[in-house]
Subunit: 131 residues, 2 copies
Amino acid sequence: MNWLDEIRWTEDGLVPVIAQDAASGKVLMFAWMNRESLALTVEEGRAVYWSRSRGRLWRKGEESGHVQQVHELRLDCDGDVILMKIEQIGGISCHTGRESCFYRRLDEGQWTETDPVLKDPKAIYGQAKPG
Amino acid sequence: MNWLDEIRWTEDGLVPVIAQDAASGKVLMFAWMNRESLALTVEEGRAVYWSRSRGRLWRKGEESGHVQQVHELRLDCDGDVILMKIEQIGGISCHTGRESCFYRRLDEGQWTETDPVLKDPKAIYGQAKPG
Protein backbone atom coordinates (compact mmCIF):
# COMPACT_ATOMS: atom_id res chain seq x y z
CA MET A 1 0.00 0.00 0.00
CA ASN A 2 1.28 3.42 -0.95
CA TRP A 3 2.00 5.65 2.05
CA LEU A 4 -0.02 8.42 0.41
CA ASP A 5 -3.08 6.16 0.38
CA GLU A 6 -2.90 5.77 4.16
CA ILE A 7 -3.67 9.43 4.65
CA ARG A 8 -7.26 10.38 5.29
CA TRP A 9 -7.62 13.41 3.03
CA THR A 10 -10.35 15.99 3.56
CA GLU A 11 -13.21 16.18 1.09
CA ASP A 12 -11.14 18.81 -0.70
CA GLY A 13 -8.22 16.39 -0.97
CA LEU A 14 -6.08 18.16 1.61
CA VAL A 15 -4.25 17.32 4.81
CA PRO A 16 -3.21 19.82 7.50
CA VAL A 17 0.52 20.06 8.16
CA ILE A 18 2.25 21.36 11.30
CA ALA A 19 5.78 22.59 10.61
CA GLN A 20 8.09 22.31 13.60
CA ASP A 21 11.72 23.34 13.89
CA ALA A 22 13.64 20.07 14.03
CA ALA A 23 16.31 21.47 16.36
CA SER A 24 14.44 23.76 18.77
CA GLY A 25 11.02 22.10 18.72
CA LYS A 26 9.38 25.47 18.11
CA VAL A 27 6.13 25.24 16.14
CA LEU A 28 6.63 27.52 13.17
CA MET A 29 3.56 27.39 10.97
CA PHE A 30 0.51 25.47 9.88
CA ALA A 31 -0.54 24.96 6.28
CA TRP A 32 -2.13 22.45 3.92
CA MET A 33 -0.90 19.94 1.38
CA ASN A 34 -2.64 17.96 -1.30
CA ARG A 35 -1.45 14.63 -2.62
CA GLU A 36 0.76 16.17 -5.28
CA SER A 37 2.40 18.69 -2.95
CA LEU A 38 3.07 16.05 -0.29
CA ALA A 39 4.64 13.74 -2.84
CA LEU A 40 6.79 16.64 -4.08
CA THR A 41 7.75 17.52 -0.50
CA VAL A 42 9.23 14.05 -0.07
CA GLU A 43 10.79 13.93 -3.54
CA GLU A 44 12.42 17.34 -3.23
CA GLY A 45 13.14 17.26 0.51
CA ARG A 46 11.63 20.69 0.93
CA ALA A 47 8.15 21.81 1.98
CA VAL A 48 5.72 22.18 -0.90
CA TYR A 49 2.31 23.27 0.28
CA TRP A 50 -1.02 23.70 -1.44
CA SER A 51 -2.00 27.34 -1.22
CA ARG A 52 -5.76 27.41 -0.71
CA SER A 53 -5.92 31.18 -1.25
CA ARG A 54 -3.97 31.05 -4.50
CA GLY A 55 -5.22 27.65 -5.61
CA ARG A 56 -1.80 26.40 -6.62
CA LEU A 57 1.33 24.63 -5.42
CA TRP A 58 3.41 26.77 -3.11
CA ARG A 59 7.05 25.88 -2.79
CA LYS A 60 7.75 27.50 0.55
CA GLY A 61 10.53 30.02 0.01
CA GLU A 62 9.94 30.40 -3.72
CA GLU A 63 9.79 34.18 -3.32
CA SER A 64 11.34 34.76 0.09
CA GLY A 65 14.18 32.26 -0.13
CA HIS A 66 12.92 30.92 3.21
CA VAL A 67 12.93 27.32 2.12
CA GLN A 68 11.99 24.61 4.61
CA GLN A 69 14.26 21.58 4.43
CA VAL A 70 12.44 18.49 5.57
CA HIS A 71 13.99 16.31 8.24
CA GLU A 72 11.09 14.08 9.19
CA LEU A 73 7.41 13.47 8.47
CA ARG A 74 5.03 12.03 11.03
CA LEU A 75 1.39 10.97 10.77
CA ASP A 76 -1.10 11.04 13.61
CA CYS A 77 -3.23 8.22 14.96
CA ASP A 78 -6.24 9.11 12.81
CA GLY A 79 -4.09 9.46 9.70
CA ASP A 80 -5.40 12.93 8.99
CA VAL A 81 -2.71 15.32 10.28
CA ILE A 82 0.99 15.52 9.40
CA LEU A 83 3.77 16.77 11.64
CA MET A 84 6.78 17.87 9.62
CA LYS A 85 10.13 18.56 11.27
CA ILE A 86 12.14 21.02 9.28
CA GLU A 87 15.13 23.27 9.15
CA GLN A 88 13.94 26.79 8.37
CA ILE A 89 16.42 28.45 6.03
CA GLY A 90 16.85 32.11 6.97
CA GLY A 91 15.24 31.51 10.35
CA ILE A 92 11.96 33.11 9.23
CA SER A 93 8.80 31.11 8.61
CA CYS A 94 6.15 33.78 8.84
CA HIS A 95 5.23 36.20 6.05
CA THR A 96 5.29 38.94 8.70
CA GLY A 97 9.07 38.48 8.97
CA ARG A 98 8.95 36.58 12.25
CA GLU A 99 10.47 33.23 13.10
CA SER A 100 7.09 31.64 13.82
CA CYS A 101 3.54 32.42 12.77
CA PHE A 102 2.43 31.90 16.39
CA TYR A 103 3.77 35.20 17.64
CA ARG A 104 0.71 36.25 19.66
CA ARG A 105 0.03 34.97 23.16
CA LEU A 106 -3.21 35.28 25.08
CA ASP A 107 -2.49 37.47 28.10
CA GLU A 108 -5.33 38.61 30.33
CA GLY A 109 -7.89 38.36 27.56
CA GLN A 110 -5.78 39.98 24.86
CA TRP A 111 -3.69 38.58 22.03
CA THR A 112 -0.31 40.13 22.71
CA GLU A 113 2.59 40.15 20.25
CA THR A 114 5.57 38.53 21.93
CA ASP A 115 7.99 37.79 19.08
CA PRO A 116 10.01 40.37 17.15
CA VAL A 117 9.95 41.03 13.42
CA LEU A 118 13.36 39.80 12.27
CA LYS A 119 13.15 41.27 8.79
CA ASP A 120 10.82 43.77 7.18
CA PRO A 121 8.43 41.88 4.86
CA LYS A 122 9.01 44.58 2.23
CA ALA A 123 12.65 43.54 2.20
CA ILE A 124 11.67 39.87 1.97
CA TYR A 125 9.12 40.15 -0.83
CA GLY A 126 9.73 42.41 -3.80
CA GLN A 127 5.99 43.02 -4.11
CA ALA A 128 3.69 42.15 -1.27
CA LYS A 129 3.18 38.42 -1.86
CA PRO A 130 3.95 36.02 0.94
CA GLY A 131 5.92 32.91 0.13
CA MET B 1 -12.76 43.71 21.08
CA ASN B 2 -13.22 40.27 22.56
CA TRP B 3 -10.25 37.96 21.95
CA LEU B 4 -12.64 35.29 20.70
CA ASP B 5 -13.85 37.63 17.96
CA GLU B 6 -10.32 37.93 16.60
CA ILE B 7 -10.29 34.28 15.63
CA ARG B 8 -11.19 33.43 12.06
CA TRP B 9 -13.49 30.47 12.61
CA THR B 10 -14.19 27.95 9.87
CA GLU B 11 -17.62 27.89 8.23
CA ASP B 12 -18.50 25.25 10.82
CA GLY B 13 -17.48 27.58 13.64
CA LEU B 14 -14.31 25.70 14.51
CA VAL B 15 -10.61 26.43 14.89
CA PRO B 16 -7.80 23.85 14.69
CA VAL B 17 -5.69 23.49 17.82
CA ILE B 18 -2.16 22.08 18.10
CA ALA B 19 -1.38 20.76 21.58
CA GLN B 20 2.30 20.92 22.48
CA ASP B 21 4.02 19.77 25.65
CA ALA B 22 5.02 22.99 27.41
CA ALA B 23 8.18 21.48 28.86
CA SER B 24 9.57 19.20 26.15
CA GLY B 25 8.17 20.95 23.07
CA LYS B 26 6.86 17.64 21.76
CA VAL B 27 3.75 18.00 19.59
CA LEU B 28 1.17 15.76 21.22
CA MET B 29 -2.09 16.03 19.32
CA PHE B 30 -4.28 18.04 17.00
CA ALA B 31 -7.97 18.66 17.51
CA TRP B 32 -10.71 21.25 17.09
CA MET B 33 -12.45 23.77 19.29
CA ASN B 34 -15.56 25.85 18.84
CA ARG B 35 -16.19 29.17 20.53
CA GLU B 36 -17.74 27.63 23.60
CA SER B 37 -15.03 25.03 24.10
CA LEU B 38 -12.24 27.58 23.67
CA ALA B 39 -13.86 29.90 26.19
CA LEU B 40 -14.20 26.96 28.61
CA THR B 41 -10.57 25.98 28.00
CA VAL B 42 -9.48 29.39 29.24
CA GLU B 43 -12.00 29.53 32.09
CA GLU B 44 -11.15 26.08 33.40
CA GLY B 45 -7.45 26.07 32.55
CA ARG B 46 -7.79 22.67 30.92
CA ALA B 47 -8.27 21.65 27.29
CA VAL B 48 -11.91 21.40 26.24
CA TYR B 49 -12.25 20.37 22.61
CA TRP B 50 -15.17 20.06 20.27
CA SER B 51 -15.49 16.46 19.21
CA ARG B 52 -16.53 16.47 15.58
CA SER B 53 -17.22 12.74 15.59
CA ARG B 54 -19.38 12.86 18.70
CA GLY B 55 -20.83 16.31 18.07
CA ARG B 56 -20.32 17.48 21.62
CA LEU B 57 -17.89 19.15 24.01
CA TRP B 58 -15.00 16.91 24.94
CA ARG B 59 -13.19 17.69 28.16
CA LYS B 60 -9.91 15.97 27.40
CA GLY B 61 -9.33 13.41 30.13
CA GLU B 62 -13.00 13.10 31.09
CA GLU B 63 -12.79 9.32 30.71
CA SER B 64 -9.08 8.64 30.73
CA GLY B 65 -8.04 11.06 33.45
CA HIS B 66 -5.46 12.36 30.98
CA VAL B 67 -6.35 16.00 31.48
CA GLN B 68 -4.39 18.68 29.66
CA GLN B 69 -3.54 21.64 31.88
CA VAL B 70 -3.16 24.77 29.78
CA HIS B 71 -0.01 26.85 30.16
CA GLU B 72 -0.27 29.14 27.17
CA LEU B 73 -2.41 29.87 24.12
CA ARG B 74 -1.00 31.32 20.92
CA LEU B 75 -2.69 32.51 17.74
CA ASP B 76 -1.11 32.44 14.29
CA CYS B 77 -0.66 35.32 11.85
CA ASP B 78 -3.89 34.55 9.97
CA GLY B 79 -5.86 34.21 13.18
CA ASP B 80 -7.14 30.79 12.22
CA VAL B 81 -4.93 28.30 14.10
CA ILE B 82 -4.23 27.99 17.82
CA LEU B 83 -1.09 26.61 19.43
CA MET B 84 -1.73 25.46 22.98
CA LYS B 85 1.10 24.65 25.36
CA ILE B 86 0.05 22.16 27.96
CA GLU B 87 1.08 19.84 30.70
CA GLN B 88 -0.22 16.37 29.89
CA ILE B 89 -1.40 14.69 33.06
CA GLY B 90 -0.46 11.01 33.01
CA GLY B 91 1.97 11.58 30.15
CA ILE B 92 -0.42 10.10 27.59
CA SER B 93 -2.21 12.21 24.99
CA CYS B 94 -3.18 9.60 22.43
CA HIS B 95 -6.15 7.29 22.69
CA THR B 96 -3.81 4.48 21.61
CA GLY B 97 -2.00 4.84 24.95
CA ARG B 98 1.00 6.66 23.54
CA GLU B 99 2.49 9.97 24.66
CA SER B 100 1.84 11.63 21.30
CA CYS B 101 -0.59 10.97 18.47
CA PHE B 102 2.27 11.45 16.01
CA TYR B 103 3.86 8.09 16.64
CA ARG B 104 4.42 7.09 13.02
CA ARG B 105 7.38 8.31 11.00
CA LEU B 106 7.79 8.07 7.24
CA ASP B 107 10.80 5.81 6.63
CA GLU B 108 11.64 4.72 3.10
CA GLY B 109 8.07 5.10 1.90
CA GLN B 110 6.43 3.47 4.91
CA TRP B 111 4.73 4.86 7.99
CA THR B 112 6.68 3.19 10.76
CA GLU B 113 5.63 3.12 14.42
CA THR B 114 8.40 4.64 16.49
CA ASP B 115 6.81 5.35 19.87
CA PRO B 116 5.80 2.75 22.45
CA VAL B 117 2.35 2.17 23.89
CA LEU B 118 2.71 3.30 27.51
CA LYS B 119 -0.58 1.91 28.72
CA ASP B 120 -3.07 -0.49 27.18
CA PRO B 121 -6.10 1.52 25.98
CA LYS B 122 -8.34 -1.16 27.54
CA ALA B 123 -6.86 -0.22 30.90
CA ILE B 124 -7.36 3.48 30.17
CA TYR B 125 -10.96 3.32 28.98
CA GLY B 126 -13.45 1.08 30.70
CA GLN B 127 -15.26 0.59 27.39
CA ALA B 128 -13.60 1.49 24.15
CA LYS B 129 -14.26 5.22 24.02
CA PRO B 130 -11.31 7.55 23.65
CA GLY B 131 -11.18 10.62 25.82
